[in-house]
Every structure is written in structure tokens, then in C-alpha cells.
Amino acid sequence: MTKSFSHLDALEAESIYIFREAAAQFSKSVLLYSIGKDSTVLLHLARKAFFPQKPPFPLLHVDTGWKFRDMIEFRDKTVRDLGLDLIVHRNEDGAARGIDPVSYAPSLYTDVMKTQGLKQALERYGFNGAIGGARRDEEASRAKERIFSFRSANHRWDARKQRSEMWNLLNGRLGTGETVRIFPLSNWTERDVWRYVRRERLAVVPLYMAAERPTILRNGQLLMLDDGRLPLQPGERVVNRKIRFRTLGCWPLTAAVESESEDLESVVTETLAATTSERQGRLIDHDQTGAMERKKQEGYF
């Protein structure tokens, strides 16, 4: 008996194939784990790819110090339950200089705490293959991304120097000083990620589900106050609203949406019917045109 493949079966199989190629071709790989739904799907696929073995690489979380507390709790529980190795890296130099999302522009903060932090971690541990959850449907520069994305010795991305990828043949042979970002979810869409979360009954950070949370309205965006570090501006009032997040990042840079969807089932239904793109809630991408392209050139994953 053969059952026909659904598109999720095909995407799952493709991702597993990519994971196995990465592990076979790079001597030192790491899974960039950022705790959100894409990372959750990525980790689940990694487990499937190597079952009954554990994934043959550690998880790396580049912590900015401004992740929601729920995210950190979820991260620690996940690695504990699954018995995985987790490396948490923070750009201590940036933290010491007080680079935070409150007093600095999102672009500078992201560059120092995320991009530089990631580069530091990759160099410190000598990783040559970094597996991330980026999808081509996210943004224009991502739409041109390869599955094996090569970076020069200083981690720069050059659109013109990417290798042609033909059929399913992935060429991971490194040149001197090169490293690779690997994107097993390249061909997934946001809706696929949610469909898959539902199909596989994956646990996600509770912030994706609606609950009463303390919020402020700033520049037309709903921000949740996760602790007391964000000073209020004149006229701002903390109001409890029933909110959830479509995407999770550093809390002062991630906008929430008002929602009644309290459980996964209704979140998925709501997301499948959503009529705005998810990155609307990502304030760092609105900085300037081509923001993602520039961040990628500088080494952002």
C-alpha cells in the first residue's frame, strides 16, 4: 500500500535529506536555535533525520539578553527533555558597552548583539556548518538564497558568488576559510510551518497563544512589557490586552497582535487565514529598504 504524499510529506523529506547532507559534508556543524516556531520545526526535523541516533550537532542560541522570559524557559525545558547539548552565547563586549534595544537603533543593536554575537560563537567553537531556519518566502533577499549558502572568511554573503544548486545535488566542499549556512526549511512557507506544528503536535512557546498580557501602544504597534527595562514615553499607559505573537524575537522589537486564539488549533486556523505577512511584527526589518540584504551581507544568518 502506498499513500500519496502531501506537500508537507514532501517538504519534510526534503528537509531530512538536507540535514543528512549537512551532517555528512561538514566536519563541525551546529543548529542555530532561536526558540521560535521555525526553530521548533527545524529541531523536530533534525531529530527525524538521525533517528534513532540523536542529532549529531549541538544547538546554539545567540542570546541578546532581551528574549522573552517564556522563551528562555521553553528553551531550557526543550533541551532538558530531549537530552541535547545547548551552547548559549552572548556578545559580552556588546553587553558591557550597554548596547540594548532601548537606547540604540534596532539596526545597530541587531548588528552587535545578533550578527556579531553569531560570528563570535561560530569562530570560538570553529563551526563550519551552521544550520538555520530561514525560509525563502520571508523576504526578497531570502528568495535568492541557496540551501547551502556560502560565506567568505569574514562571514560575508555575496549574492554573485553563490554556487548554482542543480537537482538535489548539494556541493558542500569548502574553499579556504569558507563556512556555510544551511537552510533545510528553504522551501517552506509560514503556513507550512504552522500546518506542520499542528500535524506533528509540537509544543511551541506559550507566547504564540493569546493571553492577557501587559502591553503598551507605540508607533501603532503593540509591545508587551516582559520586565521593567523599557521606560515608558509620555502619554503611554500599560494596558492588559489579550494578545499573542506571530513571530518571536527580542521583546522590545517584536510587536504583538490582539487575538482570541488561546490554543494551538485556533492559532493555526487564524494564521492560515491571516491576510498580513508575519514580518510585519518584526521591527528590525522596517529599519530601511534592503535591511535584510544588508544584514545578510554583514553575516546575519
Binding site: T2, S4, F5, S6, H7, L8, L11, E12, A13, I16, Y17, R20, E21, A23, A24, S27, K28, R47, K48, A49, F50, F51, P52, Q53, G126, R136, D137, A140, A143, K144, A159, R160, Q162, R163, S164, E165, M166, W167, L169, N171, R173, L174, G175, E178, S186, N187, T189, R191, R198, R199, L272, A273, A274, T275, T276, S277, T289, G290, E293, R294
Partner: protein, 502 residues
């Protein structure tokens, strides 16, 4: 014989003007949990033919674009109130600044019960290699032409590349029909030229559709401008086209990706079934010695399977420990792959520098990477006449024939027999970059003696331990680094090098 779609529209004319895409809209809004197929669509044509506008139209009329995106595009309407949908396929800042398009972009949308993946390859600069890359992934290609100019040299070149890369289904979108006042006569003439053209290739479906992408006529909405046209709209055609034959009926091929271990008791072979199927208890051939083994278990995290078919990513456990590793292709003994040391292949040169036969080359086939001991160009393909003219050199974007010998036998198929395991890329041993892609025309078990055959050299771990890696553990990073450095120096000197890790 190629059949240009003449199927009449079930709905007749009543649909011409009102509620153009209502049926599609309903299907998209529902967002089913399960889509039945992923269809990869390559678009080829140049900017002048209106390619961005056509893709933009598909996204605008047939897909579930977010409201914020629609609002942005709606800010750019022309005098007639038509939004500039080509902005939907806007590229990189670097491209806008330099007025160029850098290789292929991937876009996704759902319509009905299908996921469409639009593979957008630039029409002008470096188009051969970009088209070849896109075509290697495509189930169907939309060949876009300007109705005023008809089938041109470029259309012939495009068809040749599609055919070479194994695309079997094509659609000719005759765009800008409004500029020839929807002339049936002119369209039919173009259609005839196209039919004549496609007969020279191996296409199994070839339809011509008159469209005007700017306003969306016959893209996702039936045009009221061409009552003489009874064929399908572009999206109707796409909704019926089959995807690349996932060859469940082809011979079984399982390229081994890695060994999976669990404690002392479990050793399995991970991989994705490329073609065919395999059942528990069946016997498989492991390598060119003819050794066989039985499948004991087909393992997945969701539970064991009785049967694995093309597309399944699984772990196979054999009935005993055999010497099988990454690079092997498991097959059924009755229809094994060819264990070849010499190939005749058609290639597309992808690199920006010409072929330099003194460079060390590696060939990547399925999951194997093998040193090339010789490569000689025998002919260059003229994409317009399709003649194979004798040649000895190859330049960027050339399509050529070559004889390739490898330093050891590799498991491979003829592309025409099993395309999934009949293709390869050539890798620069020193820089690692992908230089060319190719399809196997013929494969031979023996090395065809060639005067320029490159001497090959095998580095063993024992040798390395005695010399440059003395005192290092053979599993250490430093050992790897030094071993690879030695291999690269030898390869750059023209030797083909293999490192034996046993």
C-alpha cells in the same frame, strides 16, 4: 506528438467577464491543511517580454498575497488604474542599483489544492546557466514571448536547455496580445511555429496560450478579448499539469547518505528513496562486486514502514553488517546502476572562467564525491541548430559534450533511464566551487584510455600518520585539515587524489 492544448473550456463563455477568479479565490481562502502536490514552474523569457509582469499577475490574481503587500502595490497604479504588479517580483537592492538581475529567485503560492513554486530565472545575463539551474528543479516551464515578435532564436535556445535538463512539459505564453489587437491569425501562426519547434525535442506536453499579462487576460482570468480562444487560461493549465514523474515505477535506487548508529545493536543506512520502492525482506545489491543483503527494517521516527517509495526519507537496516557507506547506491540485483569509470555526458559550463583541464576536478553524483582523472571536451552544442560541432575548449555558458574518467568506479545511470541518479556536478577541487552540471549520456565500466588521463594518487590514513600528521589522532580536526591541505596541493598540481579513511 506534442499536443497543443485545444481542450475547450467547460464553462463556455458565460465566465468571460463577471467574477473572473471567484472559484480560485474560494479555494485559496480555505487554506486546506493538506495540499496534494507541489508544482515547480520555471519562467523563462526576458524582461522585455514582460516576465516580471506575468509572474506578478499570477501572484496578484491567483494567490493569497498579504493585504499589506497589496496595499503597497496599489499605490503604483497607472493612468488606467492598473497596478504595476511587476513590483511584486522586485529583487535585491544591489540589483536595482546596478540594473541587473542576479540569478534565480524562488516564490511560493497556494491555489486550489496545489502549492506552486515559481522559479524565476533572469532572461538576459548568464541566462544559460541560470536557466539550466532553474530547469533542473522544474516540473513545467513557461516560455514567455512577445506576440509582436513571435518564436525567436532565443525561444529555440530556451527549448534546447529545457530539453537537456529533463523538463518534459512546456507552456508557451504569447504575451502582449493586446498589442497585436488579439489577432487570431497571428496567434495561430505563432502556435504553428511553436509546434514545429517542440517536435524536435522530447516534450510530452506543449500548449500555447494567448495572454496579456499587464491586465491579466488569460493568466488567472479568462479574457473577453479573444472569443476565438477556447483553450485554458495559464492558471487552469498549471492546475492540471503533472509534476515531474516521481518515478515510483522506475528501478529502485537508494543513494546512501550516512550511517546511523544507536548503541552497539543498531547500524542503519540513511537516505531518501530516489526512485522505485523497496519492501522489508527484499534483497538489494550493495555495490559493483554484486554483494547483496536483505532489508531487515525500514526505520523512521514515526515508526517502522513495510515499504518505502520514491521520496521517502528513511533509515534501512540490513540483515547483517556489510561494508556499505556514503556514496553507495542500493538497487535491486535485476536492475542495478552502472558502476562506471568512464562517462559520456552533456554538460553546461556554469563557472565564469573557461574550463582549465589542468585544474583538479571532482565529480559529485547522488551522494558520492570522486576525483576526475580526465575530462576531454569532444563537441559543443549549437543551441540554435542543435548541431554538435567538434570542439576542444569550453567557455562560460557553453553546452558541450565530454568524456570523463573517474579515479574509481561510481554508481550512476544514464539520464534517459533514471534521471534522478543520472546527473552530476563538477567541483573545483581547490576552491570547492561548482563548475558545471551534466547529464549522463553513456556510462562504461572500463576506463576508456585517453592520452591526457590524469595520474591518480591515493593518500591513506596510515601514510598521513607516518608523515605530515604524525602524532595526531586521525579523528582530530587538525588531522583533517592537514590531510585536506595535502590533497589540495596535489590536486592543484593536476593529480587526482583520493583519501582512504580506513
Amino acid at each position: 506528438m506534442s499536443a497543443v492544448a485545444q481542450k475547450s473550456n467547460m464553462h463556455g463563455y458565460e465566465q468571460l467577464t463577471s467574477q473572473p477568479i471567484a472559484n480560485l479565490d474560494n479555494a485559496t481562502i480555505a487554506h486546506p491543511d493538506r495540499l496534494d502536490a507541489i508544482v515547480r514552474v520555471l519562467t523563462c523569457g526576458s524582461v522585455d517580454d514582460g516576465k516580471s509582469t506575468l509572474i506578478g499577475r499570477l501572484l496578484w490574481d491567483a494567490s493569497d498575497l498579504p493585504d499589506d503587500t497589496r496595499a503597497t502595490i496599489n499605490r503604483s497604479v497607472d493612468a488606467d488604474g492598473v497596478p504595476d504588479v511587476s513590483l511584486l517580483v522586485d529583487g535585491l537592492v544591489a540589483e536595482r542599483e546596478q540594473g541587473i538581475t542576479i540569478d534565480i529567485a524562488w516564490r511560493y503560492f497556494d491555489a486550489g489544492h496545489r502549492r506552486y513554486v515559481i522559479i524565476d530565472s533572469p532572461g538576459h545575463e548568464q541566462y544559460t546557466r541560470n536557466m539550466a539551474t532553474g530547469a533542473s528543479h522544474a516540473d513545467v516551464a513557461i516560455m514567455l514571448i512577445d506576440a509582436r515578435h513571435g518564436v525567436k532564436r532565443q525561444t529555440r535556445r530556451h527549448a534546447a536547455i529545457l530539453d537537456l535538463m529533463g523538463v518534459r512539459r512546456v507552456i508557451l505564453a504569447v504575451n502582449k496580445m493586446d498589442l497585436i489587437i488579439w489577432s487570431e491569425e497571428k496567434f495561430r501562426a505563432i502556435e504553428r511555429d511553436f509546434q514545429q519547434l517542440v517536435r524536435r525535442f522530447n516534450f510530452i506536453e506543449a500548449a500555447a496560450i494567448p495572454v496579456a499579462a499587464k491586465r491579466g487576460d488569460n493568466v488567472a482570468r479568462r479574457s473577453d478579448q479573444a472569443p476565438w480562444y477556447h483553450g485554458q487560461t495559464l492558471i487552469e493549465r498549471l492546475s492540471e499539469v503533472s509534476n515531474r514523474d516521481t518515478a515510483i515505477n522506475a528501478p529502485f535506487r537508494f543513494p546512501v547518505q550516512s550511517i546511523i548508529r544507536d548503541g552497539l545493536d543498531f547500524r542503519g543506512l540513511s537516505g531518501t528513496v530516489a526512485t522505485g520502492s523497496i519492501q522489508v525482506g527484499k534483497s538489494v545489491q550493495l555495490n559493483n562486486s554484486g554483494a547483496t543483503a536483505r532489508i531487515r527494517r525500514i526505520v523512521t521516527m514515526d515508526g517502522d514502514l513495510d515499504i518505502a517509495v520514491a521520496g521517502n526519507a528513511v533509515v534501512l537496516q540490513l540483515d547483517a553488517d556489510y561494508d556499505v557507506s556514503r556514496g553507495a547506491i542500493l538497487a535491486e540485483a535485476v536492475q542495478p546502476p552502472i558502476y562506471a569509470q568512464s562517462l559520456q555526458a552533456r554538460l553546461v559550463w556554469l563557472a565564469e572562467t573557461p574550463l582549465d583541464t589542468d585544474h583538479g576536478l571532482l565529480i559529485r553524483t547522488s551522494t558520492d564525491l570522486t576525483p576526475v582523472s580526465s575530462l576531454s571536451v569532444t563537441a559543443k552544442l549549437d543551441l540554435e541548430t542543435l548541431a554538435e560541432n567538434p570542439a576542444t575548449i569550453c567557455l562560460p555558458n557553453d553546452v558541450f559534450l565530454a568524456d570523463i574518467s573517474t579515479s574509481r568506479p561510481i554508481a550512476i545511470d544514464r539520464f534517459s533511464d533514471v534521471s534522478e541518479t543520472g546527473c552530476f556536478v563538477l567541483v573545483d577541487a581547490l576552491s570547492g566551487s561548482t563548475l558545471a552540471c551534466g547529464v549522463v549520456v553513456q556510462a562504461h565500466e572500463h576506463v576508456l584510455k585517453h592520452p591526457s588521463a590524469r595520474p591518480s594518487f591515493t593518500l591513506s590514513v596510515a601514510q598521513l600518520e607516518r608523515e605530515i600528521c604524525a602524532g595526531l589522532s586521525s579523528s582530530s580536526d587538525e588531522f583533517h585539515r592537514r590531510a585536506n591541505a595535502v590533497a589540495r596541493i596535489l590536486e592543484s598540481a593536476g593529480l587526482s587524489v583520493d583519501i582512504k579513511r580506513d
